[in-house]
Amino acid sequence: MNRTVIGLNLKYFFHSIVATLLMFTGLFLPYASINDGRKNILSIALSLTGVNEKSGLTLFMYLTIVFTIMSFVLCVANIIKTTKLSFKTWQVLQACATAFWTFLLFSSKSILEGGNLVKGFLNKNLSIGYWLGFVFAYVALVFIMRVTQTNRGYIALTIMSVIWVFPILWIVLTALRAEPGYYVGYFFPKHLTLDNFAKLFAADSVIPFAKWWLNTFIVAMCACVINTLIILATSYILSRTRFAGRKAFMNILMIIGLFPGFMSLIAVYNILKGLGINQSLFALIVVGAAGAAMGYHVSKGFFDTIPRAIDEAAIIDGASRLQIFTHITLPLSKSIVVYQALGAFLAAWSDYIFPSMLFGDKQSSYTVAVGLYWLTDFRRIDAYYTQFAAGAVIVAIPIVILFVWLQRFYVEGLSGSVKG
């Protein structure tokens, strides 16, 4: 086999053929141990064609067989005449076959029980034929991708994205589900509706969600502006000016930061009570702003990377420090400003501990975090689960949009102003 084809790495050709053959033989070996002995997948599929009320998932079984055979055919075709196009086709078919062998792992129970072939099926009853097909489908795919010089990372990325997206998909589907309740025995809702969203904002709703949302929005916007200003000002001073006590100030901040923050919440609460502003949104904003300076590290690190020569030049030109800050430093640090603003907004948006302690049972002041957590209490979860999901979606959507849109700044902010 000393052929060469441009664009293909035929070193692994032989491996791919063997793996595909092994996967193909999986079709003829026993698929699962069911009541009357062990049958291979082909005979099971044949016997299922006669059954009228079979599970819709049976299609997966047929498609597995079809793609496996087609991949085998392409394998033979490539042995006879190897071209880049036919190899690519083989790769696509093998990818489909692999996907369906994987789906079978999750749907065998439904297929076999739906066809009345078996009762109380568990995946440990699957036998050699299935496992051979499953494992070698992946092995063959890896080798074929090596031949076509495709990055094997796609396999891992696909599997990981499914796992990562799964909970998100679940919450979106729950938000759209018409059937109420937490304990439902299926993934895809039977009926779709937008009622859950409407109910949250209805005037007669038990849940003052619109109020919560507005509260959170006010607090988050104020935090976004005030905290960002405070952080930027603090880190500008610590980065650009030198004065006695600067190091001491930074050390004190670091030491304070090592204490768990909410250890002192009780005292903060009493101080707020003494000032007469407890149980109000204003208190939330004030306390948030008061602690903002602690998070100066990232932006100080960023300011440190802006050349000091720029400042010195401006001073010679007669600019004041304040003017340098507003006219030179800030415009140069767009990404860190966005990073801090986004961070401040997000932190205020999803803060739970302090608001929950501050507001107690005063529901009208709740922020969404406190409110939604309150909804998932075990006494309420069954009645309000779909509405909780709808609320979660509404809360998450603005953040997701912001985040995806500003992702670039986020990464840039973390890596400093000077690019490597």
């Binding site: 568990l122 909970p167 993934f187 998932t376 979660a392 998450a396």
Partner: protein, 439 residues
């Protein structure tokens, strides 16, 4: 000679030196602040400091009112408020001492300038200098006041509380509490009491959790970032966005959702049974060991995208020539990871890893929203559960059982642990600074 006298006077009368140098308004403001502090101390301050020592003497109770001839409720001292106002006084005093030092140095500077015949700023010019030379006073005043009032003061208050017996049996206003020295630390750390039998396992789990959570996310995120950034992957941005989605959803939402999904009748158990993996519901969050694994895995799900984003930037900074020459020498991808990528990453991210470790020891959100520390166990002190970290236990002690002294003690212990790790990180990063850098 005259200068000496004025400077000595200004130790006692703040601003005297400034007035003598023509900065009259400034000097008067200094003097005004001093007078108001002295008035405050005479009127209430000393009384408050004395309260700090006794923490209140009169217990609330029934007192005989001779005029009316009946027993009536007498309001006792509220130890908590006495402690708090004592702390406020102490903080004000510290602030005044700092202010006093500042006036002295300001006065001395003014005298020196006057002696050298230089111009001393008048008040308007002082205000103007806030935007220029003295911009630190303008920019730092708000953060410093904020931190002082809402962070330092409460912190001192809570630290002091660790040395009192302010627990559920000594709740003001009904009861007084008092200083007990380091008794709380001894009960928590050494005796074979129920408390220490809770503390050590919780501390152990906190450490295990911290390391497991940090390193699983670190390697997972690095792996993911390496795949996405490797050559031949198309649509890098799309892949990245898919994973960033989980990061963008506020943690309290995704964690609550996942917690409901992992419940006994949650969707994971339903699906696992439908797919034929198991016959009965798995105790994801209701069995101690299962719950510990579950929280680590869910944290992996949340934490990997964060690391992925951070690592992406660093990976791109590794010089490509290193890989090319390694490839020519016939190194396998694993070899390249072991000899090039990993050492580089390790070098750059050690400080990040350590700060991440500390924040994971204090990872309140993940634990509280997922399990709230449950499953509970009878072996532990009231309220603590198998997945409780020190911080969540601290929170429960303040919120549910009002054992503030224990909570404060634990807070100090957490501080000590974090401080140790920070010191390690510092000594390490200093060592690194002295090297030539990664080469």
């Amino acid at each position: 000679m005259r200068k000496d006298i004025i400077s000595k006077i200004s130790y006692v009368v703040c601003g005297a030196a400034n007035v003598a140098c023509g900065q009259i308004l400034k000097g008067l403001i200094f003097l005004g602040i001093e007078i108001s502090y002295i008035l405050f101390m005479i009127l209430t301050g000393f009384e408050r400091l004395r309260g700090l020592i006794t923490l209140g003497e009169n217990v609330q109770g029934m007192a005989f009112n001779e005029e009316l001839g009946i027993y009536e409720m007498s309001a006792g001292d509220n130890s908590m408020l006495i402690l708090l106002s004592g702390v406020v006084t102490v903080v004000i005093t510290i602030a005044f001492i700092l202010f006093w030092l500042f006036t002295i140095s300001s006065g001395r500077a003014a005298l020196n300038r006057a002696k050298e015949g230089k111009h001393n700023n008048n008040f308007i010019e002082d205000i103007r200098s806030l935007a220029n030379k003295n911009i630190r006073f303008l920019f730092l005043s708000v953060p410093v006041v904020g931190l002082g009032v809402f962070t330092v003061m409460p912190l001192i208050y809570m630290i002091l509380m660790a040395f009192t017996n302010y627990d559920s049996n000594h709740q003001p206003p009904g009861n007084l509490f008092d200083w007990v020295g380091i008794k709380n630390f001894i009960t928590l750390l050494s005796t074979s009491d129920r408390l220490s039998a809770t503390f050590w396992p919780v501390l152990g789990w906190t450490l295990i959790w911290g390391f497991a959570a940090t390193f699983s996310c670190y390697f997972g995120g690095m792996f993911l970032a390496m795949i996405i950034n490797s050559k031949g992957i198309e649509f890098k941005k799309v892949w990245r966005t898919i994973f960033v989605l989980t990061m963008a959803i506020p943690a309290f939402i995704s964690l609550r959702v996942v917690a409901t999904m992992l419940g006994e009748k949650g969707i994971f158990n339903v699906l696992l049974q439908q797919w034929g993996f198991t016959n009965s519901a798995l105790p994801f969050l209701s069995n101690g060991t299962w719950a510990r694994f579950s929280v680590i895995i869910v944290n992996f799900w949340i934490g990997v995208p964060v690391t992925m984003l951070m690592v992406s930037g660093i990976l791109m900074n590794i010089p490509g020539e290193l890989y090319e020459s390694a490839k020519i020498d016939g190194a396998s991808p694993f070899m390249m990871f072991r000899k090039i990528t990993f050492p580089y990453m390790w070098f750059v991210t050690t400080p990040y890893l350590i700060s991440n470790l500390i924040s994971n020891f204090n990872n309140f959100n993940t634990i509280y929203f997922l399990t709230a520390g449950e499953p509970l166990t009878l072996n532990y002190y009231k309220g603590a559960g198998k997945t409780d970290l020190l911080v969540t236990w601290l929170y429960k002690l303040t919120k549910d059982s009002n054992d503030y002294n224990l909570a404060a003690t634990i807070g100090i212990i957490i501080f000590v642990i974090s401080a140790i790790f920070t010191l390690v990180s510092f000594s390490r990063s200093n060592a690194l600074k002295n090297e030539e850098g990664f080469s």
